[in-house]
Symmetry: C2
Subunit: 329 residues, 2 copies
C-alpha cells in the first residue's frame, strides 16, 4: 500500500444518487403502483439521503392509455401530490424528477407545466441517438420552464462511434446538467464502460456537465459498471430498489449505497421499504438476472424477446431460448 492509496475508503461529496424504481420499475408493471407504494418509496428515499427520486414518466395519455397504465406513466400534478404532498427540495433535501421521452411517447409541449407549479425539480429527457435534435429542444423548453434538466441517451451499446461523437457534440450545447451513459440492453463490459465514460467526459468537459451512469443487469454487471463509471468520475448514478426494472432489472440501489462511503446515506430505510413494498411485488412480477436476459445482453439485443419468453410456457428452457436467439440473427 506504499504507492497506492485506498480511494474506496473515502467518498466524493459531489456524487449524486438517483432512485428510479417507480419510473424504470414501472416498465415491469405498467406503472401500476398504488399511491401508498409510491409514498413509501418516496419517504424511504428522503430518509436514506438520496439526491433524486424519479417518480415516473411524463408520457402522453393518448399513447399510454390510463385504462392500461397507472398514474406514474403520466405524472399529472394532482397524482404526484397524492403521494408526495407539497414536496420541496428545501424541506427534504431531495429533488424529485420525472422522465420525458423524445418522439411520439410524450407530448412534452403540452404535458410539462412550469416548474414553479410542480413538485418536480428536474426533467430527465430520454432519447435514442436519432432523436437528439428533439431532445435538445425538450431540454431547452424544460430549462425555460424552470427545471433542472438531464439527458439520458439510450441503447448506447448499439450506436456507432461516430454517431456518439456527434450526439455528444449536440448534448454539450444543451442546458442539461448531466448526460447519462445508458446501457439499455445490459450489454457493456468494464472496458466498454471505460471507453464511453471517458468519451462522454471529454465531450462535455467545457460545458461543465456531469456524466451519469444508468446500467442494466443482464450480465450481472449493473452494479460493477455503475461503480466503474463512478471510479472514472461519473457524478450521477442511477439505481432501483432490489434492482426493480424490466427484464434483468437495474443496478440495485441497496448495493450501491453500501458501496458509497458518504455518511449522509442511510441504508436502513431502503432495506425496510424493500422488504415491505418491493419484495411482495417480486412475487407478482419477474425481474432480475436470469439466463434468457443474460443471452439477450450478450447478444446486444433489446430484452423484449427474453421478457416474452419468460412469460411463456417454458420460461426455464434456456437452451430452447438460446437456439431461438442464435437462429434469429
Amino acid at each position: 500500500m506504499k504507492e497506492e492509496a485506498a480511494p474506496w475508503i473515502t467518498y466524493r461529496p459531489e456524487l449524486k444518487v438517483l432512485d428510479c424504481t417507480i419510473r424504470d420499475g414501472g416498465l415491469v408493471n405498467d406503472s401500476q403502483f398504488t399511491d401508498d407504494q409510491v409514498r413509501a418509496v418516496y419517504e424511504a428515499c428522503v430518509e436514506a439521503g438520496l439526491d433524486y427520486m424519479e417518480i415516473g414518466y411524463k408520457n402522453d395519455p393518448e399513447v399510454f392509455s390510463p385504462d392500461k397504465f397507472g398514474a406514474w406513466r403520466h405524472c399529472h400534478e394532482e397524482d404526484m401530490r397524492r403521494a408526495v404532498g407539497d414536496h420541496s427540495f428545501k424541506s427534504t433535501g431531495m429533488k424529485l424528477c420525472a422522465m420525458a421521452d423524445a418522439g411520439a411517447k410524450s407530448n412534452w409541449e403540452k404535458q410539462i407545466i412550469p416548474a414553479k407549479d410542480s413538485v418536480l425539480d428536474m426533467i430527465r429527457v430520454a432519447c435514442y441517438v436519432h432523436q437528439i435534435s428533439e431532445a435538445a429542444d425538450m431540454l431547452s423548453h424544460c430549462h425555460e420552464l424552470g427545471y433542472e434538466t438531464c439527458l439520458n441517451i439510450m441503447a448506447i451499446s448499439i450506436v456507432q462511434d461516430a454517431e456518439i461523437d456527434q450526439v455528444l457534440k449536440i448534448a454539450a450545447t444543451t442546458p442539461a446538467l448531466a448526460v447519462v451513459v445508458v446501457d439499455s440492453y445490459g450489454n457493456l463490459y468494464r472496458e466498454q464502460i471505460d471507453y464511453l465514460v471517458k468519451k462522454y467526459a471529454k465531450a462535455v468537459e467545457g460545458a461543465g456537465m456531469d456524466v451519469g451512469i444508468h446500467a442494466h443487469n443482464n450480465l450481472q454487471l449493473a452494479f460493477a459498471n455503475t461503480i466503474e463509471a463512478i471510479i472514472l468520475g461519473a457524478n450521477r448514478a442511477d439505481g432501483t430498489l432490489l434492482g426493480m426494472g424490466r427484464g434483468a432489472g437495474n443496478c440495485p440501489l441497496e448495493i450501491l449505497l453500501g458501496f458509497l462511503r458518504n455518511p449522509k446515506f442511510d441504508l436502513r430505510p431502503i432495506l425496510k421499504v424493500i422488504q415491505d413494498v418491493i419484495l411482495p411485488l417480486r412475487e407478482q412480477y419477474d425481474w432480475g438476472p436470469s439466463i434468457p436476459y443474460n443471452i439477450t445482453g450478450q447478444m446486444n439485443q433489446h430484452p423484449r424477446s427474453a421478457i416474452q419468453y419468460r412469460g411463456g410456457d417454458t420460461p426455464d428452457d434456456y437452451l430452447g431460448f438460446y437456439n431461438q436467439v442464435v437462429s434469429d440473427v
Copy 2:
C-alpha cells in the same frame, strides 16, 4: 476507436476455465449430489470445452462423516469412477481435479493416492494464510505423486498486506502451476481486485506461475471481478453452474462462457445441464445474491451469519439482519 483497439472481441488462448460446481456447490448441500448429477455435470463440462472440472473435496471422512456428507466431500477413487468412468485428459481434453484443504479438514498424506492410479489430473490446495507452510508441503507431496497442483489462498479480503507478500513469497517456491486470488467473503471491489492481481502477478512472475481468480457473488460482483482479473492477465478463472455455491454463490459459469470469445467453448451443454440438473436443486437450496449476503459481503464477514439467517424464521427481514450485524461488530 482510432487509438484504442477493442480487445474484448478476441481471446487469449492460454486462459483456462474451471468449473467447481460439485466442489464449491457441495458446500450448499453437504456434497449430496447423486452419481447421475455428477455425471451430467461432468459430461456437460467436457462437451462445453472446459479446461478443468473440480469434482469435490479430498477431505477426511473422520472429520466430514459419510453419515452426513456425500461422496464428493472425500472423492474416493471408486466413487469418482462411478460418475466419470475411466476419465482421461487424453480422451476428453479436460482435466479433472479435487481440492484438499490444509489444516485438520483433510488427511492428505493418507487420502491422496498416486496420480497414475487416479482419474484426477490436478489437486488444488486450499489454505488460509496462516496455513501456508502446510500448504507448501501438500503441494510438494501432490506434485511428487504426479499431479498438477494449484494453490487457492482463501479469505484474502481480511489479510494484511505484509502477510500477503509473505505468503506469495512462499507460494512462488512451490510447484503450483497457479496461485488463485480467492475472495471468500465476496467483499472485493474492482480496484481491490486490480491491486491483488497485480501483486500476485509480480510475486510469481519469476516462477512462471499463473494467477487465478475465484470470486463470490455477495455484491453481484463475482462475474465483474472475474473478468477484471482476466483483463489484467489472470489465466485461470473459476465458475459454477448458475453460480451454485454457499451463500451468494460464485461466478456463474454460463455468464463467463458468454464473455469469453474462444470458439472452443460451447454454451449449449452448459445451459442444458443447468435447466435439467441445477435449477431443480435451487428449488431445494437457497443460494445466489440476496440482501443478507450483500450485507456480510459489505462488512467483509464470513457469510455464515447470513446463511443462518436465511434459514431462519424471518429470512426476508433485511433490516433486522442489518441491525444484528452492525450491532455485533
